[in-house]
Symmetry: C2
Subunit: 338 residues, 2 copies
DNA sequence: CTGAAAGCGCTAACAA
DNA sequence: TTGTTAGCGCTTTCAG
């Protein structure tokens, strides 16, 4: 398992192939001008001595790392995972590798992470959300590389933006429920300051209810993010105990919405006959559960894909100035609300 | 957003602080011997000119990257995400950063990925599963760094192992069902060659049924991995159509098991009264769903945590020779099977 | 505790 | 198409 002797370098390959190190270097690039015969000899020689290209040296000399740094709140979340897939898929086509870190929904942790990531000299950085510590903002601004904020529409963007308004998305759901004649609507989640997107969604709920002239005070805290199915169930229990006349509940995510649904099932409360439930995110479970869950699809995969495409344009110099790409979340009315 | 002038280097910091670059270098290490006063001056100077430590140069000169490469089949899977969390948490304590890649459950893609990752000169590599292409095996063997295979107990390990036998875990479930008096037991999933763990689980099912003298032919294909809830539901539909007298079904994962459960709910087939359902993985949904799902907990988080601990021992030279750490999956009997 | 010299392995820049 | 020279920004090594 361990190779005792030193790893071979390009110089070793060059010697064996009877060429200069520079030619070996060229042979390992895609588009370089090396004769097919020479390239083959070189690659065979490299294979023979078990040469592995050393990116650390290449990075330093060329001042290019082919890294794109990415911070997401959690790896264990299908929405962010989808964004990451869309992003890394799009970047892979250009030989760019995502350098991932997760913040645990904590902007202090995000600050530490950004500092660590920037040391690796990424060629761009993609962060989730539009709220950061002052020092994190400063580091991003001074990094000298493209910055993209996602999953939000910040008022004062640092650079590029690919996202949507969490508040407005929830307003769409409230307005739909009100149009259906409901008035006693509750919201589960988004109580913790840490949960920036969750808080935005709750604020959006409150603003929308106020705009409709309705009571926005049916708010159930569900703890710090990530809010689990279990916490959704517990929150639903509290809602049913304290405000039993509630007609509909909007949950901060599909996971908590599903938990809420199961709590109703355990208590024998029919959904949607007695109460409507809505989630957020269009996770797979929202489509599969019985009943299926009304939700909002923020197109996580597209956020990633469009971010990748934007970055490629920026790196090609085809993008003048900072771009803000607005994603339009889609309301999906399903079995849990009709 | 873009810094036009070149990024400052240690030399710039040194000049401003009135010391040599070497002293700046020492000031940026934790344990280095620099007087507190000097260190403070240096860090202030660095902050002033917006200096960011350049890991690419450090990596090359010191021949250390503080990277640990990790391959997982998919980021969008709670089990692997948990392993990754346990792993990266454990490594972070020592300043090691995980360099992540995902294989899409494809060992060809894994081969490409391993090659890319090794170019970054990680100090160890952790792969999921024990089946690899011959070239991937060779690259891992010759990499000269610790290698850990996880989520499996390979017959011929490359280096270290932290995992369990997928086949034996499923056998435990089969034996439990048989002990409860069931004989007509089916298996959903694991048909595609690509799905190494899924195939192992199916083979384990077949072997266990044979050992019990029972018919192991109730096998429902569910497509290539990852097998979704939707595919689990479709497979359950086929099972109910073709083998309606089946008494219990073991699914390759909790996600497909939940899909199967919903299909029963849509058809009005009571679970567990008419048919038992079991999954694999102890995902959150298995505990929350109604009824809750009988499953097997393979302790994904522990796999990651123990892998991290093992790697730290190896790097400290406290581990002689390759280790195999066996994880013992736990049978969880829940509402879907009683 | 601090500094000077050298070089990690590759590639930009220039030359042939 | 191929080669030569120099140097990316840090840290090892050795010296004080």
């Amino acid at each position: 398992m361990n190779t005792p002797r030193k790893a071979p370098t390009m110089a070793d390959v060059a010697r064996l192939a009877g060429v200069s190190p520079m030619t070996v270097s060229r042979a390992f690039k895609r588009d370089s001008s090396v004769s097919e015969a020479t390239r083959e000899t070189i690659l065979k020689a490299a294979d023979e001595i078990g040469y592995v290209f050393d990116a650390t040296a290449s990075n330093l000399r060329s001042q290019k790392t082919d890294f794109v740094a990415v911070t997401i709140p959690s790896i264990n979340n299908a929405n962010f995972a989808d964004t990451l897939r869309g992003l890394s898929e799009g970047l892979k086509a250009r030989g760019l590798q995502t350098l991932l870190g997760y913040t645990d929904y904590d902007i202090q942790e995000e600050e530490r992470l950004i500092e660590q990531l920037l040391r690796r000299r990424p060629e761009a950085i993609v962060v989730t959300g539009g709220r950061h510590t002052p020092r994190a903002r400063r580091m991003l601004q001074n990094a000298g590389i493209p910055v993209v904020e996602t999953w939000d529409l910040p008022e004062a963007p640092i650079g590029h933006v690919v996202g949507f308004s969490n508040a407005l998305a929830v307003r769409g759901m409230v307005d739909h429920f009100v149009a259906q004649g409901l008035t006693r609507i509750a919201f589960i989640g988004g109580d913790a300051d840490r949960d920036t997107r969750g808080s935005d969604r709750r604020e959006g709920f409150i603003a929308a209810m106020r705009a409709q002239g309705l009571d926005p005070s049916r708010l159930i805290a569900a703890g710090a993010p990530p809010i689990s199915m279990r916490e959704g169930a517990a929150a639903m229990g509290r809602l049913l105990d304290t405000l039993p006349d509630t007609q509909a509940v909007i949950c901060v995510s599909d996971l908590s919405a599903f938990g809420a649904l199961t709590e109703c099932q355990r208590r024998g409360i029919p959904v949607p006959d007695r109460i409507w439930i809505a989630g957020f995110g269009d996770y797979e479970i929202a489509e599969v559960s019985v009943p299926s869950l009304t939700t909002i699809n923020p197109f996580p995969r597209e956020i990633g894909a469009r971010t990748a495409a934007l970055l490629l344009r920026v790196m090609d110099g085809q993008q003048e100035g900072p771009a803000t790409l607005a994603i339009h979340p889609q309301l999906l009315i399903r079995g849990s609300s009709r």
